[in-house]
């Protein structure tokens, strides 16, 4: 019960680490009128989950959750942090990942302090490592004893929830339509969680070029309400 409640708390979209300030390129899509109604919002959400999150943040989270213990694990974490930094080409996206990681670690350490989380936070502060949210989240939930499957499912769910909330605010779509997309994509999340351990190593960090360009274009949007 304690584990479930911890997961619900740290994975909440209202967990005050500032995740609601990022759209990860969605704002550019809305600005270009590509995402403009219920069906385009649903397509965006589904494609994001299946072709971007699965190979990127969810895969980085999975890698963190399966890190070996001890020094070997730490070395792998250093390697992973460098790799994720090299993969997140768009400045705003890379920076978003760092900021969320710092705030997440700061806040969760106040709730319950774990040595690896503290070490990761210190390495980010000393600029030895860049810092990424998926890794920070993975370290905390793993230390809290939450199962791999629950952590992944929750992570996918909250990412999707963020997309839907942003769609409801910016497209806009109705709250009911948003909740319907969220509900309809449950089987997709279950499928992706099931497939995650079998993901081809060569596919780690696959890039969706259109999305990456939209993230870059966000830096130049004339009016914007999101940081990324």
């Amino acid at each position: 019960m304690q584990k479930l409640l911890t997961l619900l708390q740290v994975n909440d979209s209202m967990f005050p680490i500032g995740s609601f300030t990022h759209s990860y390129g969605l704002e550019s899509y809305v600005d270009a009128r590509i995402v403009h109604d219920n069906s385009s919002a649903a397509e965006y959400a589904r494609t994001m989950l299946e072709h971007s999150i699965y190979y990127n943040d969810a895969a980085f989270l999975y890698k963190t959750l399966t890190l070996p213990p001890g020094k070997k694990g730490w070395d792998k974490l250093v390697e992973l942090d460098t790799l994720v930094t090299a993969l997140k080409a768009s400045y705003e996206i890379r920076d978003a990942s760092k900021k969320l990681a710092i705030r997440f670690l700061k806040l969760t350490t106040e709730l319950k302090s774990y040595p690896t989380c503290k070490k990761y936070a210190a390495a980010i502060q000393q600029e030895e490592l860049h810092g990424h949210y998926a890794i920070a989240f993975g370290l905390h939930v793993k230390a809290a004893g939450i199962s791999l499957e629950d952590a992944l499912s929750a992570f996918y769910y909250n990412t999707l929830n963020g997309i839907i909330t942003n769609c409801a605010k910016t497209v806009p779509i109705s709250q009911t339509a948003g909740q319907k997309i969220l509900y309809d994509l449950q089987p997709v999340i279950a499928k992706l969680v099931r497939q995650q351990p079998g993901m081809d190593e060569q596919q780690l960090g696959l890039c969706c070029i259109g999305q990456e360009i939209k993230c870059m274009q966000h830096e130049k949007l004339r009016t914007r309400i999101y940081i990324s």
Partner: protein, 317 residues
Amino acid sequence: MINRDNSLTSRVDISCKREGPKTLLVNSYFDIPYKVVHYGSKLLQDHLEVMMMCYSPGVMDGDTLQISVHCPEKSEMKLFTQSFNKLHPMKKGASQTMHVKVDDHALMQYLPQPTIPFKNSIFDMDNLIEVAESGHLVWGDIISGGRIHSGERFEFSKLHNRTKVYRGGKLIFFDNQLMEPRKQPLERMLFFEGHTHQGTLLIVSDYANAFKEELDEVLTEQFTDMSYGFTQCGKNALLIRALGESGDAMHEWLSNIGDMCWSFIRHHMAEAEAVAPEAPISRKKPAAKKPAAKKAPAQKKATAAKKRPAPKAVIKT
């Protein structure tokens, strides 16, 4: 080398060296069907310009190509390809690996002609680029969705392109692009979004951030049929990505930006070289005067270059 099944295993090695103001070609090994030649007269400029040619119709099933390029200290090389990289229909697939080394104070530019994957082609590209702490790189690639005007649109089987860039031994950029039209909604949102070509230009240099500031002023509007974005993709690294309809137009546009960046980097390198030996002797006036005197032509060059790419791309696309 021709294999039993008629496929080709080929290797291309290129290296150069700096002698006085000039960069000379040192090693140029090539197997069939490739050839490495000077691009025009080698006396025209101080830097080295070489072109990689392929005298076969393109990449066939089972072909493998291994390219290695080395730019030692202070050398300056522009590498070109002569023709579009045509990937023919395949069953097993073909592959290409490229290993590039750019040493300290060396400058290398490479923007090959677009890759065109024909129907049922399978291609795997692996690029490993090692740039020294003070080396400079201008690197690009363009991939089309197929022989669009022949009606072949995203009918290839698989194209996987991985580019890893290390600077001073540390991984700073990793581009992992997989295109499988039968498994991904490639023409839809998040991928090509209705366009048929994608292009990438990466600049790794101590002057990349200063160059980005120039682009911030120049690239302020989107083109009618090309969508682009650029960002600081790492410390001292700039990435430009574009989606468009024409491989030629995109190649010309990215080449213009690449050339502009080449001149920008060279100018700053010369400026740094001129200032460096004087710095320990006289720290005050002469050191301050030198860059100021050189700044005027630099600005001219930058503004002249600035005007070029945008109108060209607009007309072409």
